[in-house]
């Protein structure tokens, strides 16, 4: 069971690159999985911005395309 579940994975795109991530993650889980602090990142999923307070309730779906952006040095 557990094996099966862990075996299960979904493929998504993050910042242009394909990735396999465990099934059943929320977007908040995804950020944690990627080592990102939610307060430091803005998430665009499939072209739509996800509000920060919606990250927990939003499941990562197979085929999702994510843009994870933040502030960097600029003029």
């Amino acid at each position: 069971m557990a094996e099966l579940e862990t075996a299960a994975a979904v493929s998504i795109r993050v910042n242009g690159d394909g990735r396999e991530v465990p099934a059943g993650l929320s977007v908040a889980d995804l950020l944690e999985h990627l080592g990102l602090h939610p307060r430091m990142v803005v998430v665009e999923r499939n072209g739509d911005i996800l509000r920060r307070d919606a990250l927990d309730a939003s499941p990562v779906e197979p085929g999702d395309s994510y843009e994870l952006v933040h502030f960097v040095g600029g003029g």
Binding site: N15, L36, V42, V69, H70, F71, G73
Partner: protein
């Protein structure tokens, strides 16, 4: 020096943009510094309250180094996101929305570039993006060229400030066309912030002497041999140019006029 004891507020009134009051008329960027420490020290020395940042993808390998938020406290500085790198109104609006979603501010420094080589703005696309962003509730500070017509339309579009260039981004050529910038300032009612092109202190002073409300710069600090000392120089020069404008300079004349009395010479 006298700069220490004097009380600046007696010398100038504060600048207000989009309902927010600023004591410093110098705004600075965060790009291209040799190190984050140097960037932070330079920003401190500049006295700037408004600090621009860019919106980019997180680097999934080494994030910590990159994020500006790890180095600048958004409570202390107004982090002004820009739309640098956008070549269409659609892109600029997308970046602006992502920036606002970070939750710090609804201000955006709007840039829509028209040419990769010169980084000159596409004023037509900038105008279109400005209209959309204003309608969507953003406080828009619009980077533009020194064309009065474009500046007037950006004001009509509801921009909170119009930001004509002094010369191309990163060129350090200074204020090439003071006439255009002076005319823009004379004709607009919203604040005019000169953005891009200032290279050294005298450039900042001469720019403020045109009567504009402020200056935004990045390369002049980041590429100086000593960015922190240059930041201090720019803070002083910006205030100096502002006060000289308010004080009203002496007339230029091609003849000489003695400073000491002609009378009372010995026999």
């Amino acid at each position: 020096m006298a700069t220490v004891i004097a009380e600046p507020q007696v010398w100038d009134e504060p600048l207000t943009i989009g309902g927010r009051t600023l004591r410093s008329r110098l705004m600075v960027g965060t790009g291209k510094y040799r190190s984050n420490d140097e960037m932070v020290d330079a920003i401190e020395a500049s006295g700037a309250e408004v600090v621009t940042v860019a919106v980019r993808r997180v680097d999934l390998d080494r994030t910590r180094e990159e994020g500006v938020l790890f180095h600048l406290d958004p409570e202390r500085f107004l982090l002004l996101p820009n739309t640098a790198g956008c070549y269409t109104a659609v892109d600029a609006v997308r970046y602006a929305c992502l920036a606002r979603a970070a939750g710090f501010t609804d201000w955006v420094k709007l840039e829509v570039i028209g040419d990769q080589e010169t980084l000159l703005p596409d004023t037509q696309a900038t105008l279109q993006a400005a209209r959309e962003l204003v309608a969507d509730g953003f406080t828009v500070l619009a980077y533009t060229n020194d064309d009065l017509i474009a500046a007037l339309r950006l004001e009509d579009a509801g921009c909170a400030a119009v930001m004509p260039l002094a010369s191309p981004i990163g060129s350090g050529l200074g204020l090439v066309n003071p006439f255009n910038v002076r005319t823009i300032k004379a004709r607009l009612t919203v604040p005019v912030i000169v953005d891009a092109g200032v290279g050294t202190a005298s450039d900042a002073a001469v720019t403020m002497e045109q009567g504009v409300d402020g200056i935004l710069m990045n390369t002049a600090l980041a590429e100086a041999r000593d960015p922190v000392r240059m930041a201090r120089a720019m803070a002083l020069a910006t205030e100096a140019g502002r006060l000289a404008y308010l004080a009203g300079r002496m007339p230029r004349r091609e003849r000489a006029v003695p400073s000491s009395p002609l009378g009372g010479m010995l026999g």
